[in-house]
Amino acid sequence: MKLNSASLLCRDRVGGLIFLIFCLTYGYQTSLIPSYPGDAFAPFTARTLPWMLTSAGVLFSLLLIVMAQPEEKSDATLDFDWRLLITFILLMTAYGFGLTWVGFILATSLFLLAGFWVLGERRKSVLFGASFPFVTAFWLLLTKGLDIYLEPGYLFLSL
């Protein structure tokens, strides 16, 4: 097998390398677990399993780095819509903040509305029908039907 930058940095090898770094960091953190007097003579401590896992993790990641085969070139990854995914991740993060600040109904309705819009939905009946009324009905089911208390948003609490 010829070695070039593409085969050296194939997906599996990079994955193995990241996992190796992760395991080494985990191993370092394991050494920071506080120990009690007498632990040196105890057959099992809080560090025992983490040490075993660190060793196994390092071994497997090294094996993957050594045995990794360069993948055949494929255009599949080029077709992925990364922009859409990032938009959705940002939307979900905003939804997380929204749950605290503007409350369940408004945050969820706006999240769904924006989600439909971002994915290309333009029909007003769907955009508004599947967001606000649906979420209100769901909220009623939770609060009145299942008696779950949902805290109002901080913004409304401060008013």
Binding site: F19, G57, L64, T100, G115
Partner: protein, 509 residues
């Protein structure tokens, strides 16, 4: 045993629980139909709902969802050649060509009848096997459990698929690593919490399951470009007749029975599960079919549809045997169920059979009721349910994300969980893109705590010596099996390389 069965029957026949089976089957069918979303996601989405229910009702609901999802997966395999889960991939081999020939209705009916046969036979086998195994496992000690968990984890990795064994092992280790986060149960020392109080309890199992499967799979759906749905529509609107003739029935009944028995035993093996059962039965039937029938395989053979459908359903039941009797899940789906049971405060294992017979038996009986529901209610409704496949993904994807996030939020009411979930889902996407299987991660995470507990006891009893692995005959048997399962794929790879070498040398000459 009879008392237990009657208690289980009584529990299942309670109107609430019957409703759970029906709802579970319907919801499962719908979610399972959605391409990309499998039984694991379907069950993960149900967990927050089951928290408010009795443990037996919760398990019944999840078992119904499991069955429904496998059935729903078959439906989308047949109608649009997009398997909802891996266990129904084989169904598409012959189911979709049948649909293209205008026999979608017959294919769906055959799938339902085969699932029913698989479910019925496996329920009977489960009825015999589970109590017997539960009685045997009562004599198990912590050393046996530890070795058994090693078998379970190594089997899941070994069955992960060609070229994925190493990655599956890494994911299992990652799962076990994540399980060590939080306060150590033996000594009470915080581990890997970085001073964050949110991490003292460790990662939430629900959060991890939801982020890696339900949310992760949906985000993958967003990442991948939309499929054209023109062909889907034509298949959905024209299902054709659902009738199966007497001759066809006579020809297919032995196929279904054979595949069900094979499927059940494959399902019982930890790690093997419904996907392998479906592939094995398909291969077996193709090999033993008469020559003219063999040539039909892959082009719309009814045998090729009935075999995997019976097998995957029987294997789904079979996978409950190690879960209910040993507390060791054999697949990602049953691992989620184990997590849910632990959250209810119920410890699956041999004691479940004695302490909570109503849960043990009601799950087994509910599986059969689930099969009847699928057959009697879902099959006639398939033409209508399949219309749900036409719901645009522009609406469906945000809705699933909403249910995933809300599912986690409504349990903890902590928005920090939402952010952790998003982060885990993003990591899960990269792991998926790098072809790292995620089911072993979940299995490792769920078994991690139990494994450490049993390892602690074993090492304490043997005063730190690893001799506990071979001192008891049962432990030795499990240890040897684990070693065999770990070593076998490596030996096979080396053997194949050695065998192919002379061929390659000849070619180069």
């Amino acid at each position: 045993m009879i008392d237990g069965i009657l208690a289980g029957l009584y529990t299942v026949m309670l109107p609430t629980n019957l409703m759970m089976v029906v709802i579970g089957c319907f919801v499962g069918t719908f979610i399972g139909m959605l391409p990309g979303l499998g039984p694991i996601s379907a069950i993960a989405l149900m967990i927050p709902i089951t928290y408010g229910l009795e443990p037996s009702s919760g398990m019944i609901l999840m078992a119904g969802v499991y069955y429904g999802a496998v059935f729903g997966g078959s439906t989308s395999s047949i109608l649009i050649n997009a398997p909802g889960c891996s266990s129904t991939v084989v169904t598409a081999f012959d189911g979709y060509p049948m649909a293209q020939k205008g026999q979608a209705g017959k294919a769906l009916a055959l799938a339902a009848y085969s699932s029913f046969t698989g479910g019925t036979l496996s329920a009977i086998m489960l009825l015999i096997a589970a109590p017997a195994l539960a009685k045997v496992s009562l004599s198990f000690q912590s050393t046996d459990y530890f070795a058994l968990m090693l078998v379970g984890l190594s089997a899941v990795a070994a069955f992960a698929g060609k070229g994925q064994v190493l990655k599956a092992w890494m994911m299992t280790i990652l799962g076990l690593i994540l399980a060590t986060v939080g306060i150590d149960k033996g000594i009470g020392v915080p581990r890997f919490t970085f001073g964050l109080t949110d991490l003292l309890d460790g990662f939430s199992f629900l959060l991890l399951a939801m982020a890696t499967f339900a949310l992760g799979e949906t985000l993958m759906g967003i990442l991948k470009p939309a499929d054209t749905s023109a062909t889907e529509q034509s298949s959905i609107t024209d299902l054709g007749s659902m009738k199966v003739t007497k001759e066809e029935f006579k020809e297919l009944a032995p196929v279904s029975i054979r595949s069900s028995i094979l499927g059940f035993f494959v399902g019982v093996l930890p790690g093997a599960g419904a996907t392998i059962a479906a592939f094995l039965s398909y291969g077996l039937e193709r090999n033993i079919a008469p020559k003219d029938k063999r040539e039909e395989f892959g082009k719309g053979s009814m045998r090729g549809l009935v075999a995997p459908e019976s097998a995957n359903n029987a294997a789904s039941s079979g996978s409950f045997v190690p879960l209910l009797t040993l507390g060791i899940p054999g697949s990602g789906t049953t691992a989620i169920m184990l997590g849910a049971l632990i959250s209810y405060g119920v410890q699956p294992g041999p004691r479940l059979y004695i302490d909570n017979p109503e849960i043990f038996w009601s799950v087994i009986i509910s599986m059969y009721v689930g099969n009847i529901v699928l057959m009697v209610l879902n099959l006639p409704l398939i033409p209508y349910i399949s219309k749900l496949l036409a719901v645009p993904r522009t609406v469906l994807l945000p809705m699933i994300i909403f249910f995933s996030i809300t599912g986690v939020y409504l349990v903890s009411f902590n928005t920090m969980d939402v952010f952790i979930m998003i982060a885990v889902a993003v990591i899960a996407i990269f792991l998926r893109l790098a072809s790292f299987p995620l089911a072993p991660l979940l299995l490792g995470f769920i078994l991690g705590g139990l494994m450490e507990e049993n390892l602690r006891r074993s090492l304490m009893l043997s005063d730190g010596s690893l001799s506990f692995l071979w001192e008891r005959p049962i432990t030795l048997g499990f240890s040897l099996t684990a070693v065999l399962v770990i070593v076998a794929p490596i030996l096979l790879t080396l053997f194949n390389k050695y065998r192919n070498r002379p061929l390659k040398m000849q070619e180069s000459n």
